[in-house]
Amino acid sequence: MKRLQLQRWSSSVLSPRVRTGSRLQHHLYTGLRCQSTFSPVPQAENEPLTHEQPPVSPIPSPNSQKSKYTLPSPPVEAARESAKLAALHARLYLPSRLPLETLARSLVDASADPNSNFNNASLATLGHDLLTYYTSEHLICTYPRLPMAVVFAAMYAYVGPKTLAAMTREWGVEHAATPGGEVDPGFLQFKRIDPGTEIGEGQVNGTTRPNDHRRWRVSMSSRVVYDNEFGEPVQDPTKNDGLPRPLPQGVTAEQASANFVRAVMGSIYLHAGRPAAKRFFEQHFLSRHLSLTELFDFSQPARDLSRLCARESFEPPVAKIISETGRKSRHPVFVVGIYSGEDKLGEGAGASLLEARSRAAVAALKGWYLYSPLNVRVPSSTEEESSAPWKPVHVDLGEVIV
């Protein structure tokens, strides 16, 4: 084995020749900038513009200028003229069959333009259904043993509103300060809620659950039945809990951004078809890294593991010390493995025997829940013609219930 020659490395990194070269380049660049006729564009130039006043659409047609101000959202023909929209279309590598007009429509929230022919509400509904369908089938087919709470959390992490709002920022979509017909259609347009308005986040007053007023304990099975795809209670528009609550006049930026991403998904599905929509989903949503191991939280892992072994008729789990160091010292380390018969189920290290055993049980339970079959196929892969016939995926008994 040869050791790294540190001397050679450091010489190449720190050689004076390289440093002078970079200085030379710097001089060259500054020279170029001085010679160019264009003034250098400061980076934060359009930042205050977008927040204080939206730039006027670049097509100054004098006869339509007055009517533009009366429109709630930009006219359809303005989409062809917007550089922002074309840039967004190219940046997302959207299929050419998706016209710029539809992309402009997906940027108009229902709070900006209540006319359903011009806002993105219908596209967002379709896109939301597609996103949740693709995500749930991916999760359930890839990890067939996931507990329901983890499935809900993973769904929220993949296609929840916070993630979609973050994606909107990553795509470089800016918000218009106020929607209107004169606004560049490349901005996300929505009516903001008034400052100081209470946003009932986390608690919903009137839900679609029966016996909602009794405040019954919400079990996981009832969340599957009554609640939405993220396991959150659904607001029932017919019920208002006896309180006359005025409908909110605007939406938050997060809701508007989420609706925009969903609408893009829906419009790709409508214009470019199913394969393109799936490809877009895989490239933009499934490619995001989600560490599923961090979504677990066990309160009594050892008890759960012994229940699991009893259910699956394995030998009862026994914790054994694999190695240890410094038992009588201030910082001991124990490595404990949990064995069922001859097989090791999990391994954990900790500063005490109890901690190590608990961590080993957590590792064993995660090993059980995070089982993933080989060659995973999802049901939607059979939608295309000339695809292989569907073979049933692994279906598990369900999570451990103590």
Binding site: M1, R3, T293, E294, F296, D297, F298, S299, Q300, P301, F314, V318, A319, K320, I321, I322, V336, G337, Y339, S340, G341, E342, D343, K344, L345, G346, E347, G348, A349, G350, L353, E355, A356, R357, S358, R359, V362, A363, A364, K366, G367, W368, L370, Y371, S372, P373, L374, H394
Partner: protein, 201 residues
């Protein structure tokens, strides 16, 4: 040329305390020489592990798999947890698992309690009666010792009376009221650490 030896007034052998200091001075000298580039390089040239590099008897290409010691990944499902129709069950051989010394490993807990199931309905009635009649005498531990079962089992079959619970709560409050800031925070931290085990942090 003859070496000039300055004879000391007393010979070395009669002064043995001089000898260790003499050897120490030699060690200091050699330690200074260790810092030379060539010697450092020579000392750091360790023999590589046998699993590194190609062994002499195998001339064809091979895969070297020598992972650093770390906790096993949870995505690597144990063989016992694989479903019956999974192909990985047959692919994993005995060589890939280290089950050769499972028997010799010491258990974490000294005695594994075999469940006896020796209490019948009348015993359970007796447990309930005793615990309700004199809760101060018949605590869970004492009942467990008398009936040869675990305190957990006592908690499963009966519950303490509300008066006893109230007394116990007051005792706990009295104890906790004597805690200072340090002890209280240490106990809270311990609880938080315990909760983090389940999240695997």
């Amino acid at each position: 040329m003859a070496a000039v030896i300055v004879s000391p007034k007393r010979p070395f052998l009669t002064l043995p305390f001089l000898l260790p200091s003499l050897s120490e001075s030699v060690a200091v000298e050699s330690r200074r020489n260790q810092s030379s580039y060539r010697r450092t390089k020579q000392r750091l040239r360790v023999k590589p592990d046998s699993s590194f590099g190609a062994s002499s008897d195998q001339s064809q290409e091979q895969i070297i798999y020598n992972p650093p010691s770390s906790a096993p990944s949870v995505y690597h499902t144990p063989t016992k947890f694989l479903p019956a129709d999974d192909i990985r069950r047959t692919l994993r051989t005995d060589a890939s698992t280290d089950s050769h010394n499972t028997k010799e490993l010491p258990p974490v807990f000294k005695s594994t309690s075999e469940k006896k199931y020796h209490l019948n309905q009348s015993d359970i009635e007796e447990i309930r009666r005793l615990r309700l009649s004199d809760p101060m005498t018949w605590s869970r531990w004492k009942l467990a010792k008398r009936f040869d079962c675990s305190p957990m089992f006592i908690a499963m079959v009966c519950e303490a009376s509300p008066q006893k619970k109230e007394i116990q709560r007051q005792v706990l409050e009295a104890v906790q009221s004597r805690w200072g800031t340090k002890r209280r925070m240490a106990r809270e931290d311990r609880q938080l650490r315990k909760e983090s085990w389940g999240r695997d942090e």
